[in-house]
Assembly symmetry: C2
Homo-oligomer: 320 residues x 2
């Protein structure tokens, strides 16, 4: 079992790599090689199998073909230019998210090895003229370039899988909190910052109205578990739409901050400043937050229980 993670240098990619190293198997087969490919560098991983790192510009078809030529049985495609950046710089999002995904799928079609491909789509697929709650059959009517590019990848994945070019599975990730490290260009970055920074004694900025703003959230552990499960399940169980919403929990920013207070006390709460950023608020308010992920639950995908446990997970996994 040779595994490739695209976006293997990112936060979720690295956690997924570590989980694979702990398991040692995927789809019943012993993992013999793991490659972490990213546009930037990747961390070293301790594993019972060889782990290599590749520098990859996914928008470069030749580079993708060369990497694909090394032969992979399972590919996790997590590489993306994030929402805020894809909105601010249309061309960079088009390159990485649209052409990058197209390159991977076209390369797989040409290559003929027919790997399992797990594709990370996003809650940003939703928005616009749709009723809530979001059901599995609600239209994807994205209101950002990032969301549009992600849904285009879903359509390609479904069609390429239906035609047997590869065995794709697409999962729409809720916003993942609490991310470790630094803020990034995602419009959703503040969802993590307002928890992460105060718990480390640093100031954070809340750019939205806490009472009026809700998030559809998942923890890193749940996402990694669900990505692995997405690779494991039988193709036949996926039906006629291989892309589905992962489970999450709906929480207001105010409720998130209350949970922070229960874990970090008044000193944590005092580190949050409030100033509306209309660009962020516009993007985030366009995202759906009320979901009924029936298909994912039927497929055995895992949800978090509450936001307090998500904060505790961050404390245990990142601050301990």
């Amino acid at each position: 079992m040779r595994i490739l993670i695209l976006g293997g240098g990112g936060f979720i990619g690295l956690k997924l790599a570590k989980a694979l190293a702990e398991r040692g198997t995927l789809r019943g087969d012993t993992i013999t090689h793991l490659c972490l490919a990213d546009v930037t560098g990747t961390e070293a991983i301790d594993a019972p199998f060889p782990v290599t790192a590749e520098s990859l510009d996914i928008a470069n078809r030749d580079a993708v073909d060369t990497l694909m030529g090394k032969g992979w049985d399972a590919i996790f495609h997590l590489a993306a230019v994030v929402s805020g950046q894809a909105e601010a710089d249309f061309v960079s999002g088009l390159r990485a998210n649209f052409f990058g995904t197209l390159n991977l799928f076209e390369s797989a079609r040409a290559n003929g090895r027919k790997p399992v491909i797990v594709y990370s789509s996003s809650v940003a697929a939703y928005g616009g003229e749709v009723p809530q709650p979001i059901e599995d059959w609600t239209n994807t009517n994205p209101q950002t370039s990032y969301g549009s590019q992600k849904v285009i990848g879903e359509l390609l994945l479904n069609d390429y899988s239906r035609r047997g070019f590869f065995d794709g599975r697409g999962v729409r990730l809720p916003t993942v909190v609490v991310r470790p490290g630094k803020p990034n260009a995602a419009a959703s970055s503040f969802f993590s910052s307002i928890i992460r920074e105060p718990l480390q004694g640093e100031p954070a900025m809340c750019p939205v109205d806490p009472e009026a703003t809700k998030g559809w959230l998942t923890s890193p552990r749940a996402v990694v578990e669900n990505l692995l499960r997405s690779a494991e399940i039988d193709a036949e169980t996926l039906g006629q739409n291989r892309c589905f919403n992962l489970p999450g929990i709906t929480v207001t920013v105010a409720e998130m901050i209350e949970a922070l207070g229960r874990k970090g006390g008044k000193e944590a709460l005092d580190l949050i400043d409030y100033e509306i950023n209309t660009a962020v608020e516009k993007i985030v308010s366009g995202w759906a937050v009320d979901f009924k992920p029936a298909k994912a639950l039927a497929l055995g995908m895992q949800a978090d229980t509450d936001f307090d446990s998500i904060v505790q997970q961050f404390i245990d996994d990142e601050l301990a």
Copy 2:
């Protein structure tokens, strides 16, 4: 008002061109030039303004750029490799439908003239895991490569319009009957053949179970009227999803044949042979046939009244 029709040599493109010639105006402006571009030749059109023909391979970006450089205020994008062909020959569909549409939109983005672009999508956008009736917010879960490529065009159109690169409008056409001329590679071709051929004394083949097979149908006149109306309406009325279902009527193949009998008598009915084609039946049975096109009706789009009038329209417009 300079107008370009991509797919201007096709059946709907030519009818649209003739309708523009009769009107002489679009969006309140006098038409000064009409260009019919197609991969094949186009018919000559009598018009009160110059009409030119261009041979265009829409999958060739340089050729698209050259044509776009001539400057167009309104573009009707009807060019496509049809459903049956795109299913039988994946690469030809990907070239024309995916890359062709991408080329047009990318060329418009680079060009900067910001035309109105009316894009013909299709009922083939629907299928898979969705409940019927199809509402405006029902997910597009296409089960053919043609449908997938059409929906990808919709997503690009919405995003490019939202960003102000052009002013797009996407309409999902029901199956258009009765088409004049010869059968084509569309899986829906028989919907026209079983009416057209018998009314001209020629044999026709019905490749599906007439009682079990339904179509979501529109007449050529209604489609042309709705394409024109789609160009005319104000962008503000289009909301957050510029792609919507045109009105149609739901008819079983058996009901279509009954209408043929009322217009053409027993001699027409006797010209139909019945032999199931499983490839056609599989594609057609995957299409949705029960729609609630509320948005289109609110925008003033026109529907046919019944299938008898569609047969009569064919007799009046094509056989008279």
